[in-house]
């Protein structure tokens, strides 16, 4: 059975997605990256789960064809909308109302061109059908679709806010929004890169599997909050604890024995790569290749002048600031922090002065994994709008760029570097970098900086080379 019939991916841009114009800029790139990888596995994988009886349409060879799709997005469907099917002459043939999952489906007995349009009256207040691209536009804002017998087609029907205005933002407004988005991204990157930097500082290891801990955070939260129905805040705390435990176990079972064996740092780095590879495919194996939402609920948005963010974003930023402040406080003001910095500087000397280096390293692994997990939940909540097996992988290089930019192994350098990378990534779009190039810009800045100041912004010159 052609699964395309059961799962028309149409409303890629959800209502929620279009509502915040700034967030739209953020996700434009992400959507681009995900499109290719997302659509195919989605079609293959989730066909079964979305098969509801009401919208089921089975094309029969030489007899019937299907026109089916979803209004809204799969995770944010619009129910109760009348979808009208018109033939090539523009006469209404059939009208169906979308179910709770936003799906609609028509069975046609003749191949040819048809037009699909939403009934404006039936749309929820404040929503309108988005005019389709010129290539598929039919009369009266309808979507043209060519049906064939024996197969299913999915017209692209998208909805958006009525007050949505594509070109309405002035340049300065866009910049202001991007700066705030950049700070948000930077803070979340900082959460993850702090741990990366601490691990590098205390053990000298460039941990290429750190991003998989970020993904793990999102995955655990998805399991606890979305699947098991735990309260979101409790879920965030639980996720952090689970991830910290994973970090503890990783050091206990893997890294400490390897340090004892005297395995070289290069070899350990390759071990992290193998681990990352195995983890990514394990996520795919167990969770599937599609984007999973941590929460389905909408928390609303708040605007300050030209800047609009979801309420969840403000909370995520606050949580990130508190967590980063806590790490900073521990590092600077407590004995454990002092010991950590001592191990960072010179492990042998630290051991000689009575510091239990293994214990400090284990603590660093635990804290780093916990922070990465926390970053993963928040990232899934406010930036990537869900979690997927490669969510972490996509920001791994940004993390490394941030850590290197700030100076390898310096915790505060990682913070400064993350904020800079976050701002660069978000500002690259409005300042003219197309699509995915905003990530490339961040990496290019890293390479240029290495030419000028190889030790990073806060690093000391003698650490390098």
């Amino acid at each position: 059975m052609p699964v395309g019939c059961l799962d028309g991916r149409t409303g890629l841009k959800s209502r929620h997605y279009v509502r915040t114009v700034g967030a739209r800029a953020v996700r434009k790139g992400l959507v681009g990256t995900m499109l290719l990888g997302l659509v195919l596995p989605l079609l293959l994988l989730v066909g079964g789960s979305s098969a509801s009886a009401a919208t089921l349409c089975l094309p029969k060879p030489d007899e019937t064809g299907c026109i089916s799709g979803t209004v809204g997005s799969r995770s944010d469907p619009v129910a109760g909308v009348d979808v009208i099917l018109r033939d090539a002459q523009g006469t209404d043939i059939e009208t169906v109302t979308t179910e709770a999952d936003g799906k609609f489906s028509f069975t046609v007995t003749e191949a040819g061109d048809y037009f699909v349009v939403l009934d404006d009256e039936s749309l929820p207040d404040g929503l309108e059908q988005q005019p389709p691209r010129a290539a598929i536009a039919g009369p009266d804002g309808s979507v043209k679709v060519t049906a064939n017998l024996g197969s299913a087609v999915s017209p692209i029907v998208e909805v958006r806010d009525e007050d949505y205005d594509a070109g309405g933002d002035s340049f300065t407004d866009q910049i202001a929004q991007s700066v705030v988005n950049g700070l948000r991204l930077g803070l979340l990157l900082a959460l993850a890169s702090l741990g990366l930097s601490l691990i590098y500082g205390t053990t000298g290891l460039s941990n290429f599997s750190h991003a998989e801990l970020v993904t793990l955070g999102g995955m655990v939260a998805y399991g606890l909050v979305n699947l098991a129905g735990m309260n979101l805040w409790l879920g965030i705390v639980a996720t952090t604890i689970v991830c910290a435990a994973v970090g503890y176990l990783q050091d206990r079972l893997l890294w400490q024995p390897l340090r004892r064996r005297g395995l070289g740092l290069t070899q350990m780095m390759i071990v992290t790569i193998g681990l990352a590879l195995a983890a990514q495919y394990a996520y795919q194996y167990f969770v599937g290749a599609s984007l999973q939402k941590v929460v389905v609920r909408d928390f609303g948005t708040t605007s300050f002048g030209p800047v609009t963010l979801t309420n969840l974003s403000f909370l995520a930023m606050a949580v990130a600031i508190v967590a980063i402040g806590l790490v900073g406080f521990v590092l600077v003001r407590t004995r454990i922090g002092q010991a950590t910095r001592a191990v960072s500087d010179n492990p042998a000397l630290a051991a000689a002065s009575g510091i239990d280096v293994d214990k400090i390293i284990r603590l660093v692994w635990t804290a780093a994994a916990g922070l990465a997990g926390l970053a993963g939940v928040l990232y899934a909540l406010v930036i990537s709008n869900g979690i997927r097996w490669d969510t972490g992988m996509q920001i791994l290089l940004l993390l490394f760029a941030a850590v290197t930019l700030g100076g390898l192994g310096t915790a505060f350098g990682a913070f400064v570097g993350s904020i800079i990378i976050g701002l660069v990534v978000e500002l690259a779009g409005p300042l003219g970098a197309p699509g995915d190039l905003k990530y490339a810009v961040a990496l290019a800045i890293l390479i240029v900086l290495l030419l000028v100041r190889p030790q990073g912004i806060l690093g000391r010159a003698e650490r390098v080379g």
């Binding site: 460039s206 064996r261 070899q267 780095m269 071990v271 790569i273 193998g274 590879l277 195995a278 394990a282």
Partner: protein, 403 residues
């Protein structure tokens, strides 16, 4: 029985596919970087992608084939220079981070929709737009051809025991080669005091080569493979790809046993000592980066000969697979990269097909067998580095690389 034969057939097809040969060439280049010079190049996929783009885009614009190859190599040359200048004077992990970032930048740029006319954006460049220039060069003629031409179907009407016999001969040859190889290795040990015997010298090397050839013939005798002589995915592409693998291996063999090769190892073992001997370490590293990168570009071109230029197909994963293959075969060995690559790709197909055939769908779907094979790859890489860092052919004492 048929299932097993189907699985083995799929494994052999993968082992001799142009894609495997292409990655083998890239791994040969990586071996020069990582194995011999100790450079942590994590951007080999970037070199491959640049080579592929340069080659394919030139051909699409009707540039003659030799010139197109040169364009691909030239791009990789420039890329190596750009990468090397800021990072080769820094510690190794900087090179790792910068090379992996640079390779990603190339991939992002290749995917850009603004460059769709040139690179085809995320969809890439269709094979049929550039492959004819290469396929038309084939002098293999038309029709299909089977390797080996004289195979089990010609003996006793292709009875089962003939096939099994071929398989046994293959297995026996592998075992014998391993035994001879061990002897040769022991004989080459300078600390050895025992007298040399007949198989320790040239005779042993000849015996090993003959055994490998007999083994390969026995393999294809028992499991013949049929493809078109020419065409986009036929013997012509395979012959060219594997000839290039052989040539690359030969070039690296000649390079590393030259005085320049000793310079490379010197830089790997102790940079400061090399510097104090008056050597220009930066220049040596740069030369290594450039030459290894050119192999990467060549690998990229071979990779797209039988497929399409797709930026995401030549992403970070390919670099990581290359490292796994290199460590599997043995870094800093001549034949290690080729052996490692062939084994790596064969083993992955073997795992996937076996899981597909023998694990019920309710436990593991077809999609999951693919992912399962990659999980095994990741875990294998971890175990390999921990328990046998020198790989199959490597020498543990030569590999105390640390950057």
């Amino acid at each position: 029985m048929d299932t097993i034969l189907d699985i083995l057939s799929a494994v052999i097809r993968e082992a001799i596919s142009p894609g495997t040969a292409a990655v083998a060439i890239a791994v040969i280049g990586l071996n020069l970087h990582f194995g011999y010079t100790g450079l942590l190049n994590f951007g080999q996929s970037g070199f491959m992608l640049l080579g592929a783009y340069g080659f394919a885009i030139s051909l699409v614009h009707d540039v003659p084939l030799p010139l197109a190859v040169l364009v691909g190599l030239g791009l990789a040359f420039v890329f190596a220079l750009v990468l090397g200048i800021p990072t080769l004077q820094l510690r190794g992990d900087y090179l790792a981070i910068v090379t992996i970032s640079a390779a990603e930048i190339i991939r992002f740029v290749g995917r850009l929709s603004n460059l769709k006319d040139l690179t085809g954006g995320a969809q890439g460049i269709q094979g049929r737009t550039y492959q004819p220039a290469f396929v038309d060069l084939s002098f293999f003629g038309d029709g299909a051809w089977t390797l080996a031409p004289f195979n089990y179907t010609d003996v006793a009407d292709g009875a089962g025991w003939v096939r099994a016999l071929g398989g046994l001969v293959f297995a026996a040859c592998i075992v014998a080669t391993v035994l001879v190889g061990r002897r040769l290795k022991r004989a080459a040990d300078p600390t050895r005091t025992a007298p040399r015997t007949g198989l320790d010298g040239t005779l042993g090397k000849v015996a090993a080569v003959v055994l490998v050839l007999i083994g390969l013939y026995a393999l294809f005798f028992a499991m013949p493979v049929t493809y078109g002589r020419s065409g986009v995915n036929g013997w012509w592409v395979r012959a060219v790809a594997w000839t290039l693998v052989a040539l690359s291996t030969l070039v690296v063999y000649l390079l590393v046993r030259s005085p320049w090769g000793r310079l490379l190892r010197g830089v790997r073992e102790d940079e400061d000592a090399m510097r104090s001997l008056g050597r220009n370490v930066f220049a040596v590293k740069m030369q290594s980066l450039v030459i290894g990168g050119l192999f990467g570009a060549l690998g990229g071109m071979v990779y797209v000969l039988a497929s399409t230029v797709q930026p995401d197909a030549l992403g970070r994963q390919i670099t990581f697979f290359s490292y796994t293959a290199l460590l599997l075969g043995g870094a800093a060995t001549i034949l290690g990269p080729v052996l490692g690559t062939v084994l790596f790709f064969s083993a992955r197909i073997l795992i996937r097909e076996s899981a597909r055939a023998y694990v019920p769908d309710s436990i593991m779907s077809a999609q999951q067998t693919e992912q399962f094979s990659f999980i095994v790859v990741g875990v294998a890489l971890v175990l390999l580095v921990i328990f046998r860092p020198q790989g199959i052919l490597g020498n543990k004492r030569e590999l105390r690389f640390n950057v």
